[in-house]
Every structure is written in C-alpha cells, then in structure tokens.
Subunit: 141 residues, 2 copies
Amino acid sequence: MQTHNLERTLAAKRISPTAMRLRVLEYLVAREAAVSLADVEKGLSHTDRITVYRTLKTFEEHHLVHSIEDGTGATKYALCAEECRPDTPHHDLHIHFHCRQCDETTCLPSTVLPALQLPEAYTAEEMSLTVQGICNKCNHH
Amino acid sequence: MQTHNLERTLAAKRISPTAMRLRVLEYLVAREAAVSLADVEKGLSHTDRITVYRTLKTFEEHHLVHSIEDGTGATKYALCAEECRPDTPHHDLHIHFHCRQCDETTCLPSTVLPALQLPEAYTAEEMSLTVQGICNKCNHH
DNA sequence: GCTAATTTGCACCGGTTATGCAAATTTCCT
DNA sequence: AGGAAATTTGCATAACCGGTGCAAATTAGC
C-alpha cells in the first residue's frame, strides 16, 4: 500500500473517520508486519488500550484488516488486500509467516493455498495456514 | 492407538511414570478429540490445574503430544502419531479441524499437507493448518 | 447551533498461561 | 530395604490477553 489518503481508505470501508481511527490506521500502514494490540498501544502514545482494541475490532468487522493467530498467543492484525469488499466475507487464504528470530508475522499473499481434499462428510468454511521459520530479512544476516 | 500399556508409552518417550502422568495419559487416550487444559481438569477429579498444566508441557517436550491452536483461545493437546521419536523434531503436518458446531478439534492425519513454495529466502521449520467447519459427526445430523 | 447517535475512556471481570517455593514423591545407590 | 538426592507436586500468586458496562466526550444529522 502506498501514498495513503487515510480518510479515503476508511470511507471506502464505511468507517467513520475519527481521530483515534486515523491514528491507528496510520500506524498500521507504516508497519509492514502484522501488529498486535500491544504493539499499537506501545506505538501510539496517550492511547487507551480498550479504545485501540475496539478500533481494531471495528476495522476487522469492516474488512479493513484481518486477524491472525500466529501461535504467539496474541492476536495480530494486518491490512486486507484491496480486493476485500466491505460487504462480502473476506478470505485471507494466504500464508501467515511467523519468524522465530525477529518475532515478526507477515502475510505472504503470493503463496496461494493449495486445494485440500478433506475426508468424507467434513465441510470446510475457513482455514488458516501458519508457517514458523526464518524470514527473508533474518536469512540475509 | 489401542490396548495401551500406559507405563510403556511413557517409557518410550523417556517420561517418568508418576501417578499424575498416568492419569492424564489415560484421559488423553480415552478421548478421541484434542483436549484443553480445562478439559483435563474437569475430566479428572482431585487434580491441581497447575500440575496438569505442567504435565501436558512435559508430554509436549517429550513429543508424546503436540499442541494445537484451533482459534478458540485455549491451547489443545493431542497424542502424537507413533512415528514421533522423542529426540527428533516432531512434525504434525496434518490438518487440525475445528468443528464450530460441536466445538471439538480433531487431527486429520489422512490429509497430508502439500509442499509449499515459499518466497525466496524464507525458511520453513514448522507449519500448522487449521480448518474451521462442520465435522463428519455433525454433518450426519 | 442543537439534539441524537456514536465513540471514547475508565473501572472492572474472567480465563489462560505462567513462576516461586516448600512439601511430597520418586529415583538412585548402597 | 533404607536413606539421600533429584524430581514432581500443590499452593499462592501474578502477568497477560480478551472482554463488558457505563458515563463522559465526540461526532453526525438537521
């Protein structure tokens, strides 16, 4: 994502542009990796944790971000791809990569999930694939 | 797994067979689905939660069980397949299926994960694939 | 500008994951 | 079998994450 008009981004997902939401979105855009609630709280000064929490929930409900469980225990959030529409169920069917060295979690949208053959009588609705390892930055010393 | 000699199972993974560990293992064997710490605590009477917690951690360290993050917030544990050796890194490269109706999480070992093509310079060490949906039992009304 | 709706900030709760430490148990050795 | 050393257990206690209720502040609609 580049050259952001933050208000425009919020409006596209039908989110009222309050001061808090603009600050949180600005923080999300600046960061490449997925962020946790604690990350945002530390990154922005003079903010209430609960308000940030609800802001991220609002972003998620309006499909501006998607939540990621990367195994660290804390839910992380990353901006959705442009294709995510505010009214359709969004699918983040890409890999979420957690680097055990720098502890950052990143979306790998280029890696598409292969179709799965589930056993008889199982119905899949959602899926998530998390990979643990060493990311490209940490591999380049 | 069938006709268990519990002591033998523990010994194979180099775990001292204390009374507590035998009880927890017995409970794990009896259950088909993955169990949470709270499940074990409720299933066994007169047990200390912390002790069960540490017992499961010990089982995990010795590769008797593997832990699963199914999105419910609580870590669940399931017995490892026989191939898991106590000294090698264990791979639970099967699907973990969480049924949103009966709320049970099961391992689907028959469904092998296809090899992934990660982007340049990413090194994968572990991965987990969780699928949410309706399981076979709940689909059969 | 004024009213209604939404959003924010504070207090507070609950569940899960953890740690420290003394008592109990198990292991090991003779 | 007995007794010391190592491990394991149980209790107290705490950190952390996610969440709700409610009144004050802010925003939106007219």
